[in-house]
Protein backbone atom coordinates (compact mmCIF):
# COMPACT_ATOMS: atom_id res chain seq x y z
CA UNK A 1 0.00 0.00 0.00
CA UNK A 2 1.67 3.21 -1.10
CA UNK A 3 0.94 6.65 0.33
CA UNK A 4 0.49 9.65 -1.93
CA UNK A 5 3.26 12.25 -1.93
CA UNK A 6 2.69 16.02 -2.00
CA UNK A 7 2.99 16.22 -5.77
CA UNK A 8 0.30 13.69 -6.32
CA UNK A 9 -1.98 15.43 -3.84
CA UNK A 10 -1.37 18.74 -5.63
CA UNK A 11 -2.31 17.10 -8.89
CA UNK A 12 -5.55 15.77 -7.50
CA UNK A 13 -6.39 19.13 -5.94
CA UNK A 14 -5.68 21.04 -9.13
CA UNK A 15 -7.93 18.66 -10.96
CA UNK A 16 -10.59 19.37 -8.35
CA UNK A 17 -10.25 23.13 -8.92
CA UNK A 18 -10.54 22.67 -12.66
CA UNK A 19 -13.63 20.54 -12.39
CA UNK A 20 -15.28 23.42 -10.50
CA UNK A 21 -17.41 21.33 -8.15
CA UNK A 22 -16.35 23.03 -4.91
CA UNK A 23 -14.97 26.54 -4.26
CA UNK A 24 -11.25 27.22 -4.42
CA UNK A 25 -11.02 28.14 -0.72
CA UNK A 26 -12.31 24.74 0.33
CA UNK A 27 -9.91 22.96 -2.02
CA UNK A 28 -7.01 24.95 -0.56
CA UNK A 29 -8.00 24.03 2.98
CA UNK A 30 -8.29 20.42 1.92
CA UNK A 31 -4.87 20.54 0.29
CA UNK A 32 -3.21 21.72 3.49
CA UNK A 33 -4.95 19.12 5.61
CA UNK A 34 -4.28 16.26 3.20
CA UNK A 35 -0.57 16.98 3.10
CA UNK A 36 -0.40 16.50 6.87
CA UNK A 37 -1.84 13.01 6.50
CA UNK A 38 -0.45 9.78 5.21
CA UNK A 39 -3.09 8.75 2.78
CA UNK A 40 -3.58 6.28 -0.04
CA UNK A 41 -5.21 7.08 -3.35
CA UNK A 42 -8.27 5.13 -2.41
CA UNK A 43 -8.64 7.03 0.87
CA UNK A 44 -8.12 10.37 -0.85
CA UNK A 45 -10.92 9.58 -3.24
CA UNK A 46 -13.20 8.83 -0.31
CA UNK A 47 -12.21 12.03 1.52
CA UNK A 48 -12.86 14.16 -1.56
CA UNK A 49 -16.17 12.46 -2.13
CA UNK A 50 -17.16 13.13 1.47
CA UNK A 51 -16.12 16.79 1.24
CA UNK A 52 -18.08 17.31 -1.98
CA UNK A 53 -21.13 15.69 -0.41
CA UNK A 54 -20.89 17.83 2.71
CA UNK A 55 -20.45 20.94 0.56
CA UNK A 56 -23.51 20.15 -1.49
CA UNK A 57 -25.47 19.51 1.71
CA UNK A 58 -24.52 22.94 3.02
CA UNK A 59 -25.71 24.77 -0.07
CA UNK A 60 -28.89 26.79 0.05
CA UNK A 61 -31.76 24.75 -1.32
CA UNK A 62 -34.00 25.95 -4.12
CA UNK A 63 -36.94 27.86 -2.73
CA UNK A 64 -35.17 28.90 0.46
CA UNK A 65 -36.29 32.39 1.50
CA UNK A 66 -32.78 33.84 1.59
CA UNK A 67 -33.99 37.45 1.57
CA UNK A 68 -36.15 36.98 4.63
CA UNK A 69 -33.35 35.19 6.43
CA UNK A 70 -30.92 37.98 5.51
CA UNK A 71 -33.34 40.64 6.74
CA UNK A 72 -33.79 38.86 10.05
CA UNK A 73 -30.10 38.16 10.45
CA UNK A 74 -29.22 41.82 10.00
CA UNK A 75 -32.30 43.16 11.76
CA UNK A 76 -32.06 41.24 15.01
CA UNK A 77 -28.49 42.27 15.89
CA UNK A 78 -29.56 45.78 14.87
CA UNK A 79 -31.76 45.90 17.96
CA UNK A 80 -28.67 45.55 20.10
CA UNK A 81 -26.69 48.33 18.47
CA UNK A 82 -26.03 51.66 20.07
CA UNK A 83 -28.44 54.38 19.18
CA UNK A 84 -25.84 56.99 19.91
CA UNK A 85 -24.68 58.57 16.67
CA UNK A 86 -21.18 59.69 17.41
CA UNK A 87 -18.09 58.01 18.52
CA UNK A 88 -14.64 59.44 18.63
CA UNK A 89 -12.22 57.27 16.74
CA UNK A 90 -8.77 57.50 18.21
CA UNK A 91 -7.47 60.21 20.51
CA UNK A 92 -8.95 63.64 19.71
CA UNK A 93 -9.40 62.82 16.06
CA UNK A 94 -12.60 62.64 14.08
CA UNK A 95 -16.03 61.80 15.23
CA UNK A 96 -17.64 59.19 13.05
CA UNK A 97 -21.20 57.98 12.77
CA UNK A 98 -21.43 54.43 14.02
CA UNK A 99 -23.97 51.90 15.10
CA UNK A 100 -27.55 51.91 13.92
CA UNK A 101 -27.53 55.40 12.38
CA UNK A 102 -24.58 54.45 10.18
CA UNK A 103 -26.15 51.13 9.15
CA UNK A 104 -29.25 53.07 8.20
CA UNK A 105 -27.16 55.44 6.10
CA UNK A 106 -25.60 52.54 4.23
CA UNK A 107 -28.81 50.64 3.53
CA UNK A 108 -30.79 53.77 2.68
CA UNK A 109 -28.01 54.76 0.26
CA UNK A 110 -27.92 58.28 1.68
CA UNK A 111 -26.56 60.81 -0.81
CA UNK A 112 -24.83 62.77 1.93
CA UNK A 113 -23.58 60.65 4.83
CA UNK A 114 -23.19 62.66 8.01
CA UNK A 115 -19.50 61.94 8.53
CA UNK A 116 -17.70 61.35 5.23
CA UNK A 117 -14.06 60.41 5.67
CA UNK A 118 -11.18 59.41 3.46
CA UNK A 119 -8.02 57.39 3.90
CA UNK A 120 -5.49 58.82 1.50
CA UNK A 121 -2.53 56.57 0.82
CA UNK A 122 0.52 57.88 -0.99
CA UNK A 123 2.86 56.48 -3.58
CA UNK A 124 6.05 54.66 -2.61
CA UNK A 125 8.42 57.55 -3.37
CA UNK A 126 6.78 59.96 -0.90
CA UNK A 127 5.02 57.86 1.69
CA UNK A 128 7.99 57.65 4.09
CA UNK A 129 8.91 61.35 3.89
CA UNK A 130 7.07 63.22 6.63
CA UNK A 131 7.89 66.63 5.15
CA UNK A 132 6.53 65.79 1.72
CA UNK A 133 3.47 64.11 3.18
CA UNK A 134 2.78 67.30 5.11
CA UNK A 135 3.01 69.36 1.91
CA UNK A 136 0.57 67.04 0.16
CA UNK A 137 -1.82 67.19 3.09
CA UNK A 138 -1.75 70.99 2.84
CA UNK A 139 -2.76 70.68 -0.79
CA UNK A 140 -5.67 68.43 0.18
CA UNK A 141 -7.05 70.40 3.11
CA UNK A 142 -9.43 73.14 2.04
CA UNK A 143 -7.99 76.48 3.18
CA UNK A 144 -10.01 79.67 3.04
CA UNK A 145 -8.84 83.19 3.88
CA UNK A 146 -10.98 82.88 6.97
CA UNK A 147 -8.91 79.99 8.25
CA UNK A 148 -5.56 81.82 8.11
CA UNK A 149 -6.74 85.24 9.27
CA UNK A 150 -7.09 86.61 12.77
CA UNK A 151 -9.79 88.91 11.54
CA UNK A 152 -11.42 90.06 8.32
CA UNK A 153 -13.23 93.32 8.81
CA UNK A 154 -14.50 96.46 7.12
CA UNK A 155 -12.59 99.61 8.01
CA UNK A 156 -15.44 102.10 7.81
CA UNK A 157 -13.24 105.18 8.16
CA UNK A 158 -11.30 104.37 4.98
CA UNK A 159 -13.95 102.21 3.31
CA UNK A 160 -11.57 99.29 2.86
CA UNK A 161 -11.49 95.67 3.90
CA UNK A 162 -8.73 94.91 6.37
CA UNK A 163 -7.45 91.35 6.66
CA UNK A 164 -5.21 90.66 9.64
CA UNK A 165 -3.32 87.45 9.00
CA UNK A 166 -1.93 84.97 11.46
CA UNK A 167 1.62 84.02 10.36
CA UNK A 168 1.74 80.79 12.39
CA UNK A 169 -1.54 79.61 10.89
CA UNK A 170 -0.30 80.55 7.43
CA UNK A 171 2.81 78.48 7.88
CA UNK A 172 0.77 75.58 9.18
CA UNK A 173 -1.51 75.63 6.14
CA UNK A 174 1.35 76.40 3.74
CA UNK A 175 0.15 79.65 2.18
CA UNK A 176 2.20 82.77 1.49
CA UNK A 177 1.26 86.49 1.44
CA UNK A 178 1.72 86.44 -2.30
CA UNK A 179 -0.78 83.60 -2.73
CA UNK A 180 -3.40 85.63 -0.93
CA UNK A 181 -2.55 88.81 -2.82
CA UNK A 182 -2.88 87.04 -6.16
CA UNK A 183 -6.17 85.48 -5.15
CA UNK A 184 -7.57 88.84 -4.09
CA UNK A 185 -6.38 90.52 -7.26
CA UNK A 186 -8.02 87.85 -9.37
CA UNK A 187 -11.37 89.06 -8.06
CA UNK A 188 -10.84 92.29 -10.08
CA UNK A 189 -12.79 94.24 -7.55
CA UNK A 190 -10.11 96.62 -6.24
CA UNK A 191 -6.48 97.18 -5.26
CA UNK A 192 -4.53 95.05 -2.84
CA UNK A 193 -1.70 96.28 -0.63
CA UNK A 194 0.35 94.22 1.81
CA UNK A 195 1.70 95.81 5.00
CA UNK A 196 3.47 93.29 7.18
CA UNK A 197 0.76 90.87 8.28
CA UNK A 198 -2.11 93.12 7.29
CA UNK A 199 -3.60 93.02 3.85
CA UNK A 200 -5.67 95.98 2.78
CA UNK A 201 -8.22 95.54 0.07
CA UNK A 202 -9.35 98.86 -1.42
CA UNK A 203 -12.50 98.17 -3.40
CA UNK A 204 -13.70 100.17 -6.37
CA UNK A 205 -17.04 100.76 -4.77
CA UNK A 206 -17.97 102.92 -1.81
CA UNK A 207 -21.37 101.39 -1.28
CA UNK A 208 -21.62 99.76 2.16
CA UNK A 209 -24.03 97.02 1.09
CA UNK A 210 -21.71 95.97 -1.71
CA UNK A 211 -18.80 96.11 0.68
CA UNK A 212 -20.60 93.70 3.00
CA UNK A 213 -21.16 91.32 0.13
CA UNK A 214 -17.52 91.53 -0.82
CA UNK A 215 -16.50 90.77 2.75
CA UNK A 216 -18.49 87.56 2.65
CA UNK A 217 -16.90 86.63 -0.63
CA UNK A 218 -13.39 87.29 0.64
CA UNK A 219 -13.93 85.25 3.78
CA UNK A 220 -14.99 82.27 1.67
CA UNK A 221 -12.21 82.66 -0.88
CA UNK A 222 -10.43 79.33 -1.37
CA UNK A 223 -6.66 79.56 -1.18
CA UNK A 224 -5.84 75.93 -1.82
CA UNK A 225 -7.06 72.45 -1.12
CA UNK A 226 -9.76 70.13 -2.33
CA UNK A 227 -13.43 71.05 -2.09
CA UNK A 228 -15.17 69.23 0.73
CA UNK A 229 -12.11 68.30 2.80
CA UNK A 230 -12.58 70.06 6.11
CA UNK A 231 -9.63 68.76 8.07
CA UNK A 232 -6.66 66.46 7.60
CA UNK A 233 -4.69 64.41 10.08
CA UNK A 234 -1.46 62.63 9.26
CA UNK A 235 -1.23 59.21 10.81
CA UNK A 236 1.57 56.71 10.89
CA UNK A 237 0.64 53.25 9.72
CA UNK A 238 3.52 50.81 9.98
CA UNK A 239 6.43 52.66 8.40
CA UNK A 240 4.41 54.91 6.09
CA UNK A 241 2.39 58.07 6.58
CA UNK A 242 -1.29 58.05 5.75
CA UNK A 243 -3.56 61.07 5.53
CA UNK A 244 -6.98 60.78 7.11
CA UNK A 245 -9.47 63.43 6.14
CA UNK A 246 -12.69 64.82 7.53
CA UNK A 247 -14.87 65.25 4.48
CA UNK A 248 -14.64 63.35 1.25
CA UNK A 249 -13.97 64.10 -2.40
CA UNK A 250 -12.62 60.96 -4.00
CA UNK A 251 -12.63 62.27 -7.56
CA UNK A 252 -10.44 65.31 -6.93
CA UNK A 253 -8.13 63.62 -4.44
CA UNK A 254 -7.36 60.80 -6.87
CA UNK A 255 -6.24 63.39 -9.39
CA UNK A 256 -3.36 64.50 -7.17
CA UNK A 257 -0.30 62.80 -8.73
CA UNK A 258 1.30 61.63 -5.46
CA UNK A 259 -1.85 59.87 -4.27
CA UNK A 260 -1.90 56.09 -4.50
CA UNK A 261 -5.00 55.32 -6.56
CA UNK A 262 -4.76 51.68 -5.61
CA UNK A 263 -5.42 51.97 -1.89
CA UNK A 264 -7.03 55.37 -1.34
CA UNK A 265 -10.64 55.03 -0.31
CA UNK A 266 -13.59 56.81 1.25
CA UNK A 267 -16.57 55.80 3.36
CA UNK A 268 -18.88 57.72 1.01
CA UNK A 269 -20.49 54.93 -1.02
CA UNK A 270 -22.14 57.26 -3.50
CA UNK A 271 -18.79 58.76 -4.42
CA UNK A 272 -17.29 55.32 -4.90
CA UNK A 273 -20.08 54.39 -7.30
CA UNK A 274 -19.47 57.60 -9.22
CA UNK A 275 -15.69 57.36 -9.43
CA UNK A 276 -14.90 53.64 -9.27
CA UNK A 277 -18.05 52.04 -10.62
CA UNK A 278 -20.90 49.87 -9.46
CA UNK A 279 -18.82 46.80 -8.62
CA UNK A 280 -16.57 48.86 -6.35
CA UNK A 281 -19.70 50.28 -4.73
CA UNK A 282 -20.89 46.75 -4.05
CA UNK A 283 -17.62 45.98 -2.32
CA UNK A 284 -17.82 49.25 -0.40
CA UNK A 285 -21.35 48.48 0.85
CA UNK A 286 -20.14 45.11 2.11
CA UNK A 287 -17.06 46.61 3.71
CA UNK A 288 -18.89 49.46 5.44
CA UNK A 289 -21.73 47.26 6.71
CA UNK A 290 -19.33 44.61 8.01
CA UNK A 291 -17.28 47.32 9.73
CA UNK A 292 -20.30 48.74 11.52
CA UNK A 293 -21.46 45.34 12.70
CA UNK A 294 -18.02 44.19 13.73
CA UNK A 295 -17.31 47.38 15.60
CA UNK A 296 -20.43 46.74 17.66
CA UNK A 297 -19.24 43.22 18.36
CA UNK A 298 -22.02 41.62 16.34
CA UNK A 299 -21.39 38.51 14.33
CA UNK A 300 -23.45 38.53 11.15
CA UNK A 301 -22.59 36.13 8.35
CA UNK A 302 -21.10 38.06 5.45
CA UNK A 303 -23.30 36.19 2.96
CA UNK A 304 -26.37 38.05 4.21
CA UNK A 305 -24.65 41.36 3.64
CA UNK A 306 -23.43 40.26 0.22
CA UNK A 307 -27.00 39.45 -0.75
CA UNK A 308 -28.13 42.91 0.31
CA UNK A 309 -25.25 44.54 -1.58
CA UNK A 310 -26.04 42.49 -4.68
CA UNK A 311 -29.63 43.70 -4.58
CA UNK A 312 -28.70 47.31 -3.97
CA UNK A 313 -26.41 47.34 -7.01
CA UNK A 314 -28.58 45.17 -9.28
CA UNK A 315 -29.69 47.96 -11.60
CA UNK A 316 -26.23 49.33 -12.27
CA UNK A 317 -26.70 52.17 -9.84
CA UNK A 318 -27.21 52.17 -6.09
CA UNK A 319 -30.79 51.83 -4.97
CA UNK A 320 -31.79 51.98 -1.35
CA UNK A 321 -33.62 49.17 0.39
CA UNK A 322 -36.78 51.09 1.24
CA UNK A 323 -39.80 52.47 -0.54
CA UNK A 324 -37.86 54.51 -3.08
CA UNK A 325 -35.60 51.61 -3.94
CA UNK A 326 -35.92 47.86 -3.91
CA UNK A 327 -39.24 47.60 -2.04
CA UNK A 328 -40.75 50.21 -4.34
CA UNK A 329 -39.80 48.19 -7.42
CA UNK A 330 -41.76 45.11 -6.45
CA UNK A 331 -44.16 44.26 -9.30
CA UNK A 332 -46.98 43.30 -6.96
CA UNK A 333 -49.39 46.01 -5.84
CA UNK A 334 -50.33 44.16 -2.66
CA UNK A 335 -46.72 43.62 -1.66
CA UNK A 336 -45.98 47.32 -2.05
CA UNK A 337 -49.14 48.26 -0.15
CA UNK A 338 -48.18 45.88 2.63
CA UNK A 339 -44.87 47.67 3.06
CA UNK A 340 -45.47 51.43 3.23
CA UNK A 341 -48.02 54.00 2.05
CA UNK A 342 -50.82 51.44 1.80
CA UNK A 343 -53.62 53.73 0.71
CA UNK A 344 -51.55 55.65 -1.81
CA UNK A 345 -50.30 52.45 -3.43
CA UNK A 346 -53.74 50.89 -3.72
CA UNK A 347 -55.25 54.12 -4.99
CA UNK A 348 -52.64 54.65 -7.67
CA UNK A 349 -52.81 51.01 -8.70
CA UNK A 350 -56.56 51.22 -9.16
CA UNK A 351 -56.25 54.39 -11.22
CA UNK A 352 -53.74 52.69 -13.49
CA UNK A 353 -55.71 49.47 -13.55
CA UNK A 354 -52.76 47.40 -12.34
CA UNK A 355 -52.78 43.65 -12.31
CA UNK A 356 -51.37 41.51 -9.51
CA UNK A 357 -49.99 38.18 -10.63
CA UNK A 358 -49.76 36.90 -7.05
CA UNK A 359 -46.31 35.46 -7.56
CA UNK A 360 -44.60 36.89 -4.50
CA UNK A 361 -44.82 36.10 -0.82
CA UNK A 362 -46.49 39.09 0.80
CA UNK A 363 -49.44 39.13 -1.59
CA UNK A 364 -50.09 35.43 -1.09
CA UNK A 365 -50.01 35.84 2.68
CA UNK A 366 -52.58 38.60 2.35
CA UNK A 367 -55.05 36.54 0.35
CA UNK A 368 -54.37 33.36 2.31
CA UNK A 369 -52.78 31.14 -0.29
CA UNK A 370 -49.75 28.87 -0.02
CA UNK A 371 -46.70 31.10 -0.25
CA UNK A 372 -44.23 30.33 -3.04
CA UNK A 373 -41.35 29.43 -0.72
CA UNK A 374 -39.66 26.09 -0.21
CA UNK A 375 -41.95 23.24 -1.25
CA UNK A 376 -44.66 25.78 -1.96
CA UNK A 377 -42.61 26.92 -4.92
CA UNK A 378 -43.17 23.69 -6.77
CA UNK A 379 -46.31 23.02 -8.69
CA UNK A 380 -47.42 19.47 -9.42
CA UNK A 381 -48.80 18.21 -12.68
CA UNK A 382 -50.63 14.95 -12.81
CA UNK A 383 -51.05 12.65 -15.73
CA UNK A 384 -54.61 11.49 -15.70
CA UNK A 385 -54.01 8.44 -17.83
CA UNK A 386 -51.60 7.06 -15.26
CA UNK A 387 -54.06 7.41 -12.45
CA UNK A 388 -56.58 5.28 -14.23
CA UNK A 389 -54.22 2.40 -14.82
Amino acid sequence: MSFLNDNEIDKEMNYLIESNVIPVTIVEQLRVKLKELKITRKELKKVVEEVVREYKNALVEPGEAVGTVAAQSIGEPGTQMTLKTFHYAGAAEFNVTLGLPRLEEILDAKKNPSTPMMEVYLKDDVKHDEEKVKQISQRIELTKIESVAQSVEIDLANMIIKITLDPSLMEDKGVSYNDIKEKLESLHKGDVTVEENIIKFNPDTNDLAQLQQLLQKIQDLTLNGVKGIKRVVIRKEGDEYVISTDGSNLKDVLEIPEVDVKRTTTNHIGEIAEVLGIEAARNAIIREAVNVLEEQGLDVDIRHIMLVADLMTFDGYISQIGRHGISGKKPSVLARAAFEKTVQNLFEASVRGDFDELKGIAENVIIGQTIPVGTGLIGLLMEHSRKEE
Binding site: P23, V24, T25, E28, L254, P257, V261, K262, R263, T264, T265, I272, E274, V275, L276, G277, I278, E279, A280, N283, A284, R287, I302, R303, M306, D310, T313, F314, D315, G316, Y317
Partner: protein
Protein backbone atom coordinates in the same frame (compact mmCIF):
# COMPACT_ATOMS: atom_id res chain seq x y z
CA UNK B 1 -1.85 54.46 -17.58
CA UNK B 2 -0.36 53.58 -14.20
CA UNK B 3 -3.08 55.46 -12.33
CA UNK B 4 -6.09 53.59 -13.57
CA UNK B 5 -9.02 53.21 -11.20
CA UNK B 6 -9.08 49.57 -12.24
CA UNK B 7 -6.14 49.05 -9.88
CA UNK B 8 -8.12 50.18 -6.86
CA UNK B 9 -8.62 47.48 -4.25
CA UNK B 10 -12.37 47.89 -4.44
CA UNK B 11 -12.59 47.34 -8.19
CA UNK B 12 -12.75 43.69 -9.27
CA UNK B 13 -11.63 42.51 -12.69
CA UNK B 14 -14.04 43.36 -15.51
CA UNK B 15 -13.88 41.44 -18.77
CA UNK B 16 -16.08 42.25 -21.74
CA UNK B 17 -17.24 39.04 -23.37
CA UNK B 18 -17.31 38.47 -27.09
CA UNK B 19 -20.63 37.60 -28.63
CA UNK B 20 -19.81 33.90 -28.74
CA UNK B 21 -18.69 33.84 -25.12
CA UNK B 22 -21.75 35.83 -24.07
CA UNK B 23 -24.08 33.37 -25.76
CA UNK B 24 -22.34 30.47 -24.08
CA UNK B 25 -22.85 32.10 -20.69
CA UNK B 26 -26.51 32.85 -21.33
CA UNK B 27 -26.98 29.27 -22.51
CA UNK B 28 -25.27 27.86 -19.44
CA UNK B 29 -27.19 29.99 -16.96
CA UNK B 30 -30.42 29.63 -18.96
CA UNK B 31 -31.17 33.35 -18.69
CA UNK B 32 -31.93 36.27 -20.98
CA UNK B 33 -29.76 39.39 -20.72
CA UNK B 34 -32.57 41.38 -19.07
CA UNK B 35 -32.54 38.95 -16.15
CA UNK B 36 -28.90 39.61 -15.35
CA UNK B 37 -27.69 42.36 -13.02
CA UNK B 38 -26.97 45.53 -14.97
CA UNK B 39 -24.03 47.83 -15.45
CA UNK B 40 -24.35 51.26 -16.98
CA UNK B 41 -22.45 51.95 -20.18
CA UNK B 42 -21.22 55.11 -18.44
CA UNK B 43 -19.83 53.12 -15.50
CA UNK B 44 -16.32 54.38 -14.66
CA UNK B 45 -14.90 50.86 -14.58
CA UNK B 46 -16.24 50.16 -18.07
CA UNK B 47 -14.87 53.44 -19.38
CA UNK B 48 -11.47 52.77 -17.83
CA UNK B 49 -11.20 49.51 -19.76
CA UNK B 50 -10.85 51.61 -22.89
CA UNK B 51 -12.52 49.06 -25.08
CA UNK B 52 -15.41 49.26 -27.43
CA UNK B 53 -18.56 48.49 -25.47
CA UNK B 54 -22.09 48.58 -26.73
CA UNK B 55 -25.42 48.24 -25.01
CA UNK B 56 -26.36 44.59 -24.70
CA UNK B 57 -22.83 43.33 -24.14
CA UNK B 58 -22.18 41.02 -21.21
CA UNK B 59 -19.45 41.87 -18.74
CA UNK B 60 -17.81 39.10 -16.78
CA UNK B 61 -16.76 40.20 -13.32
CA UNK B 62 -14.23 38.18 -11.39
CA UNK B 63 -14.68 39.08 -7.74
CA UNK B 64 -12.47 37.97 -4.95
CA UNK B 65 -14.83 36.68 -2.33
CA UNK B 66 -14.08 36.01 1.34
CA UNK B 67 -16.31 32.94 1.25
CA UNK B 68 -15.58 31.37 -2.12
CA UNK B 69 -12.09 32.64 -2.86
CA UNK B 70 -13.04 33.74 -6.31
CA UNK B 71 -16.51 34.17 -7.67
CA UNK B 72 -17.67 35.05 -11.14
CA UNK B 73 -20.61 37.29 -11.83
CA UNK B 74 -22.10 38.69 -15.02
CA UNK B 75 -23.66 42.04 -15.73
CA UNK B 76 -25.49 43.18 -18.83
CA UNK B 77 -24.51 46.59 -20.22
CA UNK B 78 -27.42 49.04 -20.33
CA UNK B 79 -27.79 52.73 -21.10
Amino acid sequence: MSDSILDNILVPKHVILSEIEANEVLEKLKVKPYQLPKILITDPAIKALNQKVKVGDIVKIIRSSPTAGESVAYRAVIE
